[in-house]
């Protein structure tokens, strides 16, 4: 397991004051995909300052507030694997990260090659880009040959 050694990503476009007063969002929490109209009354980012319309459930309003003040996403990607039954392992983040950091996060993950065996749920990178989210394996890749070393992670390009 490796702690990502790079500078924390600061591209999370955290909102201090809202330039934008009205916006229509698509809720991505569930497949209903409600269209939520978000309107800011006072120009501040507290929940009380917002009015949301169109969400079919409370999760939608929570999402809309988050989206208007600090949009976040998780990503799924993969990394190459050496010595495994499969040539790669699929990965995902444990916590959403700022939308503005998503591309950089993917690039960072692609710098790694992992060595089999890897188990589903293994943390392969801790605290990615200092964003408080771990990268975990989402499937198990067994070692192709018997005598491969135990689960280790190599940082290739550093």
């Amino acid at each position: 397991m490796t702690v990502s050694g790079r500078e924390p990503c600061t591209k999370g476009n955290r909102l201090q004051t809202t330039a934008e007063r009205v916006r229509t969002l698509t809720c991505i929490i569930c497949p209903n995909g409600c269209e939520i109209r978000a309107e800011n009354k006072a120009g501040e980012k507290e929940a009380a300052d917002w009015r949301f319309e169109g969400a079919l459930c409370p999760r939608g309003e929570k999402y809309a507030l988050q989206e208007m003040t600090d949009p976040r996403r998780t990503i799924a990607t993969s990394a190459a694997v050496r010595g495994g039954e499969e040539p790669l392992v699929s990965l995902r983040l444990t916590e959403p990260i700022p939308l503005g950091c998503v591309r950089e996060a993917a690039e960072e993950i692609h710098r790694y090659t992992l060595i089999a065996p890897i188990h589903a749920g293994d943390v392969v990178i801790r605290n990615l880009l200092g964003l408080g989210s771990d990268v975990i394996a989402t499937r198990t890749v067994k070692a192709a040959v018997k005598a491969v070393q135990a689960c280790t992670v190599r940082e290739e390009m550093s």
Partner: protein
């Protein structure tokens, strides 16, 4: 089949074809209900079905309350399968199913033959390619389906593209637009020939808008350039008849064209077994137990109708397994079924018929996007379901439980008890003349069948507008699912789901 082969025939109670979410959920539920002589057959090296290549998250929200990737979702089921010790074969393809439910399986070591009591079809679907690209002639390298691109990247770790154009706004294409972008490719745009997107709204947001990838509706690819390798495409706007509008052509240089035109159930095996297919779903015609036209052959998951959520696939397969269990125990003769018709605004329904005596889940899709609508399911005058929705789109499969509307199955000798509404319904369908006397002499099941047949003339006179139904090839009794726009003066109350 000759003598020698007969000796090698093994007996299994239930054989499950396909180890995707549908097959896995069915196997687990059967096992949990005590059906142990079962076998799951999967043609790939590993279990999990198409989910193995769907590495993005968003699976399991409905079922596990958390957002899992496809492999993790499948893993929850395969782990349990192994824990229970449920027998399965991989690298083994079902090659034939006969109407007598004899199943032939091809394995690396040769053919295996099974005599079964029930077969569960869970073969999933494949991607639509025909018609996706209405351009004649050779295809240069670099033109492939979204699923193929997904497999390259997520199973074989090969990056198939640099400069990409996507044709079709199906969910897999949208998800691949994001994946390709994060892997460093440049996705120019997604073009959709219809005036509305075919993928889910959340995927338009999180796969396209998040990355600034434009979506052009009413556009299609009209020319492909390049001889051995793709060099570019010409896209054009289309009119309301989906015909390209001259003068709107635009050239885009690219090395990859990804087709995402939707999925189609894989039913070659079903056809050979004598299963009747629904031309709308391209899957089997089933009753409320998800039993096909061949008794003892059942279907669930994408082989039955294309789902957008794996969670619903698993649930459907579990309901199927429950029905198989009761089918094995009771082995009752097929009762008369009432057809379910997709009416105004509805593309198809699953199931397509029901006995009406047990609750079931009705799934359907609408034909076009609509707002402020009312969905009505009715049997002649009787409303079985009425629901209002703010917004419906073809991309989303709608599902509603339907309660029994005829009296529940009676054990012979027991008195029939009907609820007042059932009584009213039945009274409306029956002619009063001497029917009760006759009914008393008949067994309950005969009685039921008869009730369905005898209601013909009565029903004809009972269409909403009081007109006599002219259409003679329509069955006397049918359930109609329809959707209509609510007029502004009707208001749009709080009933929204």
């Amino acid at each position: 089949m000759n003598e020698k082969n007969m000796q090698n025939v093994r007996n299994v109670d239930v054989l499950i074809v396909g180890g995707g979410p549908a097959g896995l959920a069915a196997a687990l539920r059967l096992w949990e209900k005590g059906i142990r002589n079962i076998l799951l057959v999967e043609r790939e090296k590993r279990l999990g079905g198409i989910l193995r290549q769907c590495i993005h998250d968003g699976f399991g929200l409905a079922r596990f309350g958390e957002s899992l990737s496809g492999p993790e979702y499948a893993g929850r089921f395969t782990e349990k399968l192994e824990e229970y010790g449920i027998p399965f074969l991989t690298d083994a393809a079902v090659y034939q199913i006969t109407p007598e439910k004899i199943v032939t399986v091809v394995t690396k070591k040769g053919l295996l033959t099974f005599q079964t009591k029930a077969v569960i079809l869970a073969m999933g679907c494949r991607e639509r390619t025909q018609g996706a690209l209405a351009i004649p002639g050779e295809r240069p390298a670099g033109v492939f389906t979204a699923g193929t691109a997904q497999a390259y990247m997520n199973l074989y770790n090969r990056m198939p593209a640099r400069e990409v154009v996507i044709l079709g706004s199906g969910d897999i294409g949208l998800i691949m637009a994001r994946r390709l972008t994060l892997e460093g490719a440049h996705v120019h745009a997604v073009f959709e020939i219809q005036p509305y997107p075919s993928g889910l709204a959340r995927n338009l947001q999180q796969c396209l808008r998040d990355y600034g990838i434009p979506l052009y509706l009413s556009h299609t690819v009209t020319e492909i350039h390049g001889s051995s390798r793709l060099e570019g495409v010409t896209v054009s706007e289309v009119d309301e008849h989906l015909r390209p509008v001259p003068g709107t052509e635009q050239y885009i240089a690219c090395d990859t064209l990804i087709l995402s035109a939707g999925l189609i159930p894989e039913n070659e095996l079903s056809l050979e077994a004598g299963v009747i297919l629904d031309p709308r779903t391209k899957g089997a015609v089933v009753d409320e137990h998800l039993q096909t036209s061949v008794p003892g052959i059942y279907a669930a998951g994408n082989v039955l109708h294309v789902h957008d959520l794996a969670d619903y696939v698993s649930e459907e397969a579990e309901l199927l397994a429950d029905a198989v269990v009761s089918g094995l125990q009771e082995n009752d003769a097929q009762e008369e079924k009432i057809p379910i018709r997709a009416g105004e605004g509805i593309h198809h329904t699953v199931p397509q018929k029901t006995g009406g005596r047990e609750p079931f889940l009705l799934s359907f899709r609408v034909t076009r996007p609509m707002q402020d609508v009312e969905i009505v399911v009715r049997l002649a005058d009787q409303v079985l379901l009425r629901k209002r929705r703010k917004r419906v789109v073809p991309a989303e499969m709608l599902r509603f439980p339907i309660q029994p509307f005829l009296n529940a199955v009676q054990k012979s000798g027991e008195a029939e008890v009907e609820s007042p509404s059932e009584y009213r319904n039945r009274a409306a369908q029956e002619s009063p003349s001497g029917y009760r006397n006759r009914a008393a002499q008949e067994s309950p099941s005969r009685h039921r069948n008869r009730a369905a047949q005898e209601s013909i003339p009565e029903n004809r006179n009972r269409t909403e507008d009081g007109m006599c139904e002219e259409n003679s090839d329509r069955p006397a009794q049918e359930i109609v699912v329809e959707i209509r726009k609510i007029m502004p003066d009707e208001g749009f109350g709080k009933e929204v789901e």
